[in-house]
């Protein structure tokens, strides 16, 4: 195994020390600080951006909340308005109804009065007819005119008896 040739140990160790020391110097002095700097810068930048995004998000959230509140307010306003309108309409309708009813009632009672009047008239007419008919019939049957007063009395009596 060539690896166990002791004569080759010294040059390998020496050159390992030289090259590794060089590498360490280059990396520790040049490369690593550079990478660290870039990484840090980016981390800061990302943190900044994230912070900004977060504040924007909060702003948007607040705007949304305000919008929602306004919307809710508007909605309840509309509700109240609608209710008021509704009540007013109902009131109006009720008033109209009442008026109409009164009118109808008036008309009905008028009609009733007229009917009553007509009934009375009709009754008088019938009575008059009955009186005339009764006097004529009586005169024809017994040749005696009982006169208006007696006839009326007889008719009233008969009516009262519920013929």
């Amino acid at each position: 195994m060539p690896q166990l040739d002791f004569a080759d140990f010294a040059p390998q160790i020496v050159w390992l020390i030289i090259t590794f020391a060089l590498l360490y110097a280059v990396l520790a002095r040049l490369v690593l600080p550079r990478i660290a700097e870039v990484l840090e810068e980016r981390q800061d930048r990302i943190a900044d951006d994230l912070e900004q995004a977060e504040s924007l998000r909060k702003e948007a959230q607040a705007a949304l909340e305000a919008y929602e509140a306004a919307l809710n307010e508007a909605r309840s306003d509309a509700h109240i308005t609608a209710q008021v309108a509704h009540a007013k309409l109902a009131e109006e309708a009720a008033a109209q109804n009442e008026e109409l009813e009164a009118k109808i009632n008036a008309q009905a009672s008028e009609a009733e009065a007229r009917i009553n009047e007509m009934r009375v008239q009709a009754r008088d007419e019938i009575r008059k007819l009955a009186r005339t008919a009764a006097r004529q019939v009586t005169a024809r049957l017994i040749g005696l005119d009982p006169g208006d007063a007696a006839t009326d009395a007889a008719i009233d009596r008969r009516l009262k008896e519920g013929v």
Partner: protein, 247 residues
């Protein structure tokens, strides 16, 4: 490495060759093929990361995303396993992770040499981690550091034995750490090499092994990442033990 060395031994890919012979104070510091690939690894890491981050834009492109992802991957690993106390060690763990990851992955390129397939390299890294962590623990906790080896509520009679066993278990850490990475890399590359040899030897009929090699490559890529991850996360856990002493 799969096709090129088809004729040779599967272990030949691990051979160290000296490209430039050097010696400093009696120490052999020759520039070898292993050193070449170590240089390739660190150049690849540095250039790709610097290139990916050249603009450093707010909205990252593909390359920048990968660079940032690797950063965050290791940063999360350190934070989750060590806590905020581990922040100071993040550059080291990141370097370690990237070095092993790139060495593992670049080693999969045909003809490439895998730095981490040598036990001495993985052991050097593991022992560095081990010693470093131990020193950090000793500095932070002084003598209290040794309570790491004494589980709570143990009778005094068997305590010395347990301390020795725990000490051995502690000392075994760099061995397991280095052995795991080394064995995975070596096994994977040897296997790829062997099947690469089959493909070449069978020629036209090598389509079966070829398909298998493709699948094996996928698996090895995963192992390359997994081993870098395991090495880094174990480093984090050892560091956590040393910093917080909850064994």
């Amino acid at each position: 490495m799969t096709v090129a060395h088809a004729a040779g031994s599967p272990l030949e890919q691990f051979k160290i060759t000296r490209l430039v012979e050097m010696e400093v104070g009696g120490l052999d510091v020759s520039f070898t093929n292993s050193a070449v690939w170590m240089v390739v690894v660190i150049v690849a890491i540095s250039v790709s990361l610097l290139f990916a981050m050249r603009k450093g834009s707010m909205v990252p492109g593909r390359g920048q995303s990968v660079a940032e992802l690797s950063y965050e991957f290791v940063a999360n690993m350190v934070r989750d396993n060590v806590g905020s106390a581990g922040r100071a060690y993040f550059p080291f763990i990141f370097s370690l992770f990237m070095f092993i990851l790139f060495a593992n992955i670049l080693g999969l390129i045909p003809y490439a040499f895998t730095v981490t397939s040598h036990i001495i390299v993985t052991f050097a890294m593991a022992i560095t981690v081990f010693l470093g962590v131990t020193v950090i623990g000793l500095i932070k906790h002084r003598m209290r550091f040794f309570t790491l080896f004494l589980p709570k509520g143990i009778p005094m009679v068997i305590a010395p034995f347990l301390v020795i066993i725990e000490l051995f278990s502690y000392l075994a850490r760099p061995i397991t750490l280095s052995l795991r990475l080394f064995a995975n890399m070596m096994a994977g590359h040897t296997l790829l090499k062997v099947f690469g040899g089959f493909v070449v030897a069978l020629g036209f009929l090598g389509i079966g092994p070829f398909v298998f090699i493709i699948a094996l490559y996928g698996l090895e890529l995963m192992v390359a990442f997994l081993q870098a991850y395991v090495f880094a996360i174990l480093t984090c856990l050892y560091l956590n033990d040393a910093l917080h002493l909850h064994h």
